[in-house]
Symmetry: C2
Subunit: 249 residues, 2 copies
């Protein structure tokens, strides 16, 4: 069943959508009618089953009867930020979509020494709006209870301001040296929040890694195969889901 | 460092590449010269460090001095087949590339009731050649020791011929019902080979699931979020890598 985010708090048994875009989508594109049932997630991240009471085509709103749902949450029980070096437009968009499906709470893109792309200051806002829209659509499709926040750091050193409990770097050199245990060990310590930084195709520079390590970031290997820049964050998020949501232990 | 697959057995200290395409890539595109070092993987899945002895532009071959490498394998210690319902061309190609990076040994595409695409008999061979080439390139890039085998089943029932020890279905309905433990339990039994079937966006039909279940396939959930058809196999392969290659236990 469809799910949409509304950026208001649902406080009563009835709720009206008059947001132009969502109204158009519901009434004109999908031609919903009285009696149809959808899900709404409000700005408190609460899920409501919403039955259409009235589609008012004159005043352009949809009126719903709403009931708070008791479905279990679809959010990872841990706060995860993935921080990825800038890459080509389609890869940045792809990372945003997939990381949303896989449960990331925040997605940060940063500029680093070997980044394949660099964004000029005047395009950042537009790109962020586009990525935030992709995150919203993916969050709706994957039935998330929140839309991940997408942001941009013009310099990798901005990662040093992270306040996450566990700070990781997915570092190819660690993988090459056969590092295979730090991720699992770190997760078994049950951190409340994690950030993991992923380098560009050309990797981090040695200075970048040293600087992050001096700021509490720990290098981890993600297995013996070389993954493309966009694949490693998906691997990481899948592992987190398995560890926190599926493991039988 | 570059790595290439050669479909011969390397038996001596020297080895000659006269394959037209690879010769052209090495000598013309990358302009390799005597003394340059690359890696070659032969048809026994063995890795060799190969130093160029001679680039013969007249007779169009490259002659190498080769040494068997003692680098640890990059192959998953378990035989994994992912079987995915047909989808759009770019998704099928994407699944092939990513599943190769993530260590799948075999990638099967099958036709199912709700498949978004259907392939006519006369296009299958061409599509398979293209996908096999994508797998080869991704295997080289990710430093695999083998090229995954890509194949096609014109009917999902062909999966019933699988002889893998553990047979799984990633089934959305299982996830919805909150199934969260069978994957981890199944892996802890240390099967030698696994196949996992993934449905199309529209899901498997109930009859398809029943038929697979009657043939020893077990339904598993892959967490509470709805993943797109191409995301679920990546999640699965990432989890296998974590379980077999990274876990500290």
């Amino acid at each position: 069943m469809e799910q949409y985010f509304v950026n208001q708090t649902i406080e009563r048994d009835s709720f009206r959508i008059s947001d132009k875009e969502l109204y158009k989508h519901l009434a004109t594109v999908l031609r919903h009618k009285s009696g149809d049932v959808i899900y709404l997630v409000d700005d408190q991240n609460d899920l409501y089953q919403a039955t259409i009471d009235q589609v008012d085509t004159e005043n352009k709103f949809v009126q719903f009867n709403v009931n708070k749902s008791d479905k279990p949450t679809t959010e990872l029980p841990i706060d995860v930020t993935i921080a990825c070096s800038l890459s080509k437009k389609d890869k940045v968009e792809w990372i945003t979509q997939k990381a949303t499906e896989l449960g990331a709470k925040r997605i940060v893109f940063f500029n680093s020494q070997y980044s394949i792309m660099h964004w000029k200051a005047n395009v950042v806002e537009k790109k962020m709006l586009r990525l935030q829209e992709i995150a919203k659509n993916a969050a709706q499709q994957s039935k998330r209870r929140m839309i991940p926040e997408v942001s941009y750091l013009k310099d990798i050193s901005g990662l040093n301001n992270s306040t996450d409990e566990l700070k990781l770097i997915a570092y190819e050199e660690s993988a090459k040296e056969g590092e295979t245990s730090i991720l699992a060990q770190s997760l078994s310590a049950q951190p409340k929040s994690i950030i993991c930084a992923f380098g560009p195709e050309g990797g981090f520079s040695a200075e970048e890694v040293t600087d992050l390590q001096n700021n509490e970031f720990v290098s981890i290997g993600l297995g013996p195969r070389i993954m493309r820049a966009e694949t490693a964050p998906m691997y990481f998020l899948s592992v987190l889901s398995y560890n926190y949501e599926l493991n039988a232990k």
